[in-house]
Symmetry: D2
Subunit: 498 residues, 4 copies
């Protein structure tokens, strides 16, 4: 099928881009690992995320709560910030500041034994509220001491994670969560008065809108601070298991957008919360870390759709997660395994990393946006475009023609990811899924993970240039149309040797 886009001089379309605002990470203490840091360095080099959000700030792995029991058997609360400092220092070195998710429960402070994940996060309320608030206060106070109160005041604070799931919060007890929210944000604000706080960090599904409504009603009634509303959104529908792996139909990107809009509708029922920002503190296709879609080009194409639209409905959206150093369902035994990461182990980019790279570095004003394309006009007169083969399309192959206002000569640079370019998964599968990768094989995979990069020199006709691209299913590309430098070393003519 063919498809033509005509951009007129002075064109403008709305496009709100928060692609690099925030990124997700597995439990916070994984940030102590060298492989994690190496991957995050690479991701930051390509995407420049500003915030990072992960679970487990108060879980045993971070070892913050460290009580001592004296000779008389009395427990004295003490805190250990060794790992917290190490993690925060490492983030700041990479230009990242945290979204502080308050949770889960230190096992020595918990009211129950229910745990979640391979790493055994305790998901029960505190046995004694005052120990929990003291923990929050001590932690915030320490962060202020180390990084400055002004700086910490810029870090958003979210209370707990997905309390509307009984696996994540004992019995999914709504009132207990509201109480947790109440005492937590009050503690936070006592230490850092101006800091922004939010919740309820719910995931989607039946009842999620009810949670939002009740949460806001509770905040209004109890006069609790709430500076942004947080929720998660995933596209995976009813799952089916095969071995360790989970499969589901994905809803359409627009369904996900609609889910966020519905949340806004609920918020609009509350005069005082109509304009509250929405932070999607987690989103992805599947919510499962062993769902093979995450490794594929298709995932990246869906991301293109989402990243082009999410700014319409949300003020922040955080892809879950940047890398495959992740342990919720156990440690991955194979290079590809359906992990959430933008990057596989050994710093091998997945297709989705390029989607983020392209969106994160966009500059200029939007002159065109539709369900398969995005075109921006930079201040220096150049254009950049992202084109993708929309998931919902029937045709295997699309031809896209783009007409742009232009004078004189232009350089067109395109980088394409498709089944056979920028897709290391295919190579790894063709190799027979080897587990024991050596330098040589890693070399092949890194080469295979590189987008196909094609350049072309064109000349405008009648004040316009027309580009044509063919996109196959599950492929996408980034294109730069820029001024030809127009330099020519006298006598440098390598074509004489072709």
């Amino acid at each position: 099928m063919e498809y033509t886009i005509q951009v007129q001089p002075g064109a403008h379309m709305d496009f709100e881009n928060h692609a690099c605002d925030c990124i997700g990470t597995g439990r916070m203490d994984l940030a102590l690992q060298e492989e994690y840091q190496e991957e995050l360095r690479q991701v930051q080099r390509l995407c420049h995320f500003r915030h990072i959000r992960g679970h487990g700030l108060f879980s045993d792995g971070m070892a913050i709560y460290a009580p001592v029991t004296d000779a008389d058997g009395i427990r004295h609360d003490q805190y250990c910030f060794t790992y917290l400092d190490r993690v925060m220092d490492s983030y700041r070195k990479l230009g990242l500041t945290p979204v502080l998710e308050l949770g889960f429960m230190p096992s020595q402070m918990a009211s129950g034994n229910q745990t979640l994940f391979y790493w055994k996060a305790n998901v029960t309320p505190p046995a004694e509220e005052k120990r929990w608030t003291a923990l929050i206060e001590a932690t915030l106070e320490h962060l202020c001491e180390r990084y400055g109160r002004k700086e910490v005041a810029l870090w958003p604070v979210e209370v707990w994670n997905e309390p509307n799931l009984p696996g994540f919060w004992e019995n999914a007890d709504k009132q207990a969560y509201f109480r947790l929210y109440e005492i937590s944000v009050q503690a936070v604000r006592r230490v850092v008065p101006g800091i922004r706080v939010g919740g309820p960090a719910i995931c989607g599904g039946t009842g999620s809108l009810e949670w939002v409504r009740d949460f806001l009603a509770c905040c209004r009634e109890r006069k609790l601070p709430v500076d942004f509303l947080t929720r998660h959104t995933y596209m995976g529908q009813k799952p089916e298991r095969k071995g360790r792996y989970l499969y589901h139909e994905m809803c359409r990107p627009d369904d996900l957008i609609d889910e966020v809009r519905a949340t806004r509708s609920v918020m609009e029922e509350f005069e005082e919360y109509r304009r509250l920002p929405i932070y999607i503190t987690e989103f992805n296709t599947s919510y499962n870390p062993f769902c093979p879609i995450h490794d594929t080009c298709r995932n990246a194409v869906i991301l293109c759709s989402l990243l082009s639209k999410l700014g319409d409905v949300a003020d922040s959206y955080s892809y879950w997660t940047f890398g495959d150093v992740f342990e919720e369902q156990g440690v991955p035994a194979t290079l590809f395994h359906g992990g959430f990461g933008l990057m596989a182990a050994s710093c091998i980019p997945k297709p989705s990393l390029w989607a983020f790279h392209f969106f994160a570095n966009l500059e200029g004003e939007c002159v065109h946006r539709d369900s398969r394309s995005l075109i921006l006009h930079r201040e220096d007169g150049s254009y950049e475009m992202i084109l993708w083969h929309p998931d919902e399309e029937v045709q295997e192959t699309e031809i896209i023609r783009i007409e742009l206002p232009w004078e004189n000569q232009a350089t067109v640079l395109s980088r394409r990811i498709d089944e056979t370019h920028g897709n290391p998964l295919k190579v790894w599968l063709d190799m027979g899924q080897p587990r024991n990768l050596r330098e040589e094989e890693l070399g092949f995979l890194k080469n295979a993970a590189c987008p196909e990069t094609v350049s072309q020199c064109m000349t405008a006709q009648d004040g316009r240039i027309t580009l044509e691209f063919t996109l196959k299913k599950n492929s996408f590309c980034h294109i730069r149309l820029m001024k030809h430098a127009g330099l020519q070393e006298t006598g440098y003519l390598p074509d004489m040797y072709l």
Copy 2:
């Protein structure tokens, strides 16, 4: 045109591979530079060269000869090994040991003022022989002290560079060179008895065979040690200049091979030197650092031809040079400029780097070799192949079919370099030859410099597998046919999402 290769079980063909024995470098003090070291690190990661050879050990830039004149006006010879140690330490850290080329003349020790190159190498004989031999002895003695006599004894020593050119050696004075050789190798051997020495380091052209004959006759007559014979060989014929740049027709790879064979013929005239190793201490297509061919795919394809044959006639062959940090005709002002390097500045691989990478990492026994292909059989049963579109062919596009003995499933991995893959030159030209490259543009060029990497899963039929490749002009590829790992995580089926 189509072309079929059938490899029978147990096939064997001769193939002597010294691709990673030695590599050339610009004047030795360039090794002090950070960019040089960064490029060399990358080259070594891909090619693992063992020796490195460059000019200027005794030139002013290395600052070894550092006499002091006392109050009475008497000059006392002193030596400064600060830079020498720094350079040698850096080589050893990268797994390299030097070929010590004794030259050029320290200006304070020279008999004349003739200089060569932008960096003004003095090319005249020593004013006083004993200062020259003292310099050699002090330098060798120092190297032994720092790196151990046993270690230094393994470094080949060559006397001067291209003395058959009047630009490189005053008047191309043959007898003066023989005298220089005589006193130099005797000095070297006094300090390190077993060390291997050689010459006459001539370039090709009229009279070069005469030089070889006279040199060997002189060695025989004066009973001078000579452990290997050195010469250079380039393919560039009569040059034509355009601006800064030089163009010439290239002779055929076989002509270059024949030139070395002719040298062997001369050697065979001498009973005692019949089997002396030949070290080609420099080779390349053009001998000029501003000849555009060096940046092209065509250069790499010619290299494939040469690297597949040079082992037939020489015991070592050293590509001139690994990188573009090079100053003989001035500092290059543009990223691409026809420099000798396998790698352009900012560590951007040229096509020729991949040719070397492919040859340098070959393993196993040769089962097929012809003018456009090389096939090896590894100990683990896998195959690796290099195919190239031979320069002399008429057809634009070749189809190569390869039949190999094989059982069961196989993975085929190929990496291809052609006009639009692994060829950053094209992108830079299409950009309009920009001089002022920023991060974003360097990113494009690095992506564009990556070979196209394609994988495939195949199954043997009747004990054989047949591969088919299409090669366009100026393209080449490396192929691995290896055992399919045959692993399959139960339930990992990403194809469900395609």
Copy 3:
């Protein structure tokens, strides 16, 4: 008190130095951490250990045992070597190979729930022996595949850790341990025939000799392979707790040596095991990771005593542990806290690191050794000495005089650690034990951790040189007496400016 040592020409004394053979580490998955690797790099730069041994190879943190349960509820054993490879790769990059300690029990494979440590090591026997031996075989097989069978055959294998303590092995059940040993070493040997295996890895205390005797008797009876005998030895006597910290009287270094001798005596009861090597797979002063002695100069002085003698009785001895990244009793909240490490967090050397550095780099033949000094004569004619103020001495200050055969001029270089030099603990205490260290303060501590380094130029008299050193309590030093280079740049006289 004064003390004189006279070394005669040709003197010789026995001294067996295995100081850098092996070093201990906390649980193996801590090696995934960046801080751990950074500290280990520094330690290796100074000490060049060859082996490293830690717990938890099979514990949940390494995540090797990763069974899947199918739809029918049947558990299929699978293994995940992601972390194992990462850890082993990191060790090998630093020149280390592991001592493989087989333990503890994967919780999904255990017969009971008893755990140990903050990180919850399961210390019960396997529920099913064949799953345990399959785990061992799969792991060894994988290591062989990745690192080569020849290489893995050089790694010693030890079975479990301190089974004579009920906390470390359920009920300290001796027969159960012997059975574990039996099936484990048989499994190991099935995969790697020649590999060396040993046990019983006991700690000291009542009953330990009985364990050795019974272990050897069992091996003899059941014809089990045993290539070396392993045990631990610590100096801490009955402990007293204050807050988180543990204090005890230390036995004398000689008591520790005697404890190992007693082990040898038991071995000598067995004809076939008389000459079996003894590997002390753990030693230290206190066995507790919150015993303040580890941070002190006194600890380092005791180490000097031990390292000068341990070679008399053991073939390997592994200090427990190289660094303070350690979690057995929880994560340390303060820089100094009595951790085992040679190095505190942020790579701050403790005095004990220098003791190891001095012993690990000793070269030459021993010409003197007593309870407070060690003198070696290097091949190049120089001497090196370690002097320490022995723990048992009564005098606060000792004067040591050393007479050595020497001709002409000498340079004497000494590096001293005492209360006010090379002792960052004192500075940190004087600062008031700050928890929140910033760059500036870390800078002070790093400066304070540097040994006082003093040089002197001396001239021999009558073929001898006499050195004199004053040693205060808890201090030690390393001295090099070496040939004065005897060079003098003509005219370089900086003393003119003093």
Copy 4:
């Protein structure tokens, strides 16, 4: 002799600190070297300089002027910014921006052959003025394009170097310099309108004030821009040579200050230039790179005097130079050789580096300043002090007593450099000036280069604390008096083991 300083609460004294404003460097293309960059990294870690200034921007080593001559023999001016970009990029990565010194003359543009230094800087006027101004304009234009016009506008521009010396500027021709200044600053301002320019970059000596006067008169008359006045100042008096080395009496620090004051007096003769900033673009003790004083403690002590006073008379002062990678009189053959550097090769700090480190990191308000001490009061209530043994003092040993307002407990941290601490020169001399340093010896020297760091815990009496320090000749120290953290882990009592 004893000496007491009493600081009263609320005390204040003037002290202008520009210690880290600017630092000198050898010719700019040395910045291409890896060793140079490594040393600069270390220096910047300790001192955080903001600007860097060196010679040779337009000399052949930077290779900016790169004309091509066409077939008709006509020279076309072209420029090569390869090295310039590499150098500027490297500076910016370390937080440095350049002071652009316009000079020396490209040899292909020069009117004469006079050269200076081992690296042969051409010091003659341009053969054609318009080529020189075109060079300046092209260079500035390129810098603007690469780094932004706003950014480049912040870089000070100075014209030539020491034109009042005939070695540095042909015949020290004053009028020729004024003409050069005129055309140069006009060219600079054409490209970057607001940029600050200055001169005449003279060194001291007879006639220097006359140069200042004439320069300002010329600027006034010709209406030339001049935003700051630049000069150099050194303390070395009539030199005496010994071998390669130069010795001279040093004038007193106050003499140097007076020399700058005299410059100010001349400026005050001009109403419009009274308040012009003075930039001392070079200062040091000796002006010779082979004067042994630079390696000594005495040099550092003199620096303490200078750095405490230079802010009274100048707005910027740039120590000549940060490191010993320097070639003006040839490449140094030995580690220590009287080079200007704050740091010797292999990153070994000289005493003077610590003087700079101490001054560069001072914070707070000055509460005391005299000829041997400087005391600042930080915002957090702590104090920091620098004490030095003033060069002019007669007594070998001084006792300094300092009384400061204080309450409660304090930590006193002092770092001292003297003959036997922080003075690697002594160790190297005692070793016999070895040229061939190996890892082990470099290790000794690095340890020896560390300041003695001593801590103490004190308690205020009657609202005051009294510190006492003994300073020997040629020694200095930095002291921090700060709040005792007052933390004490319950039960952490390492003193029990002393």
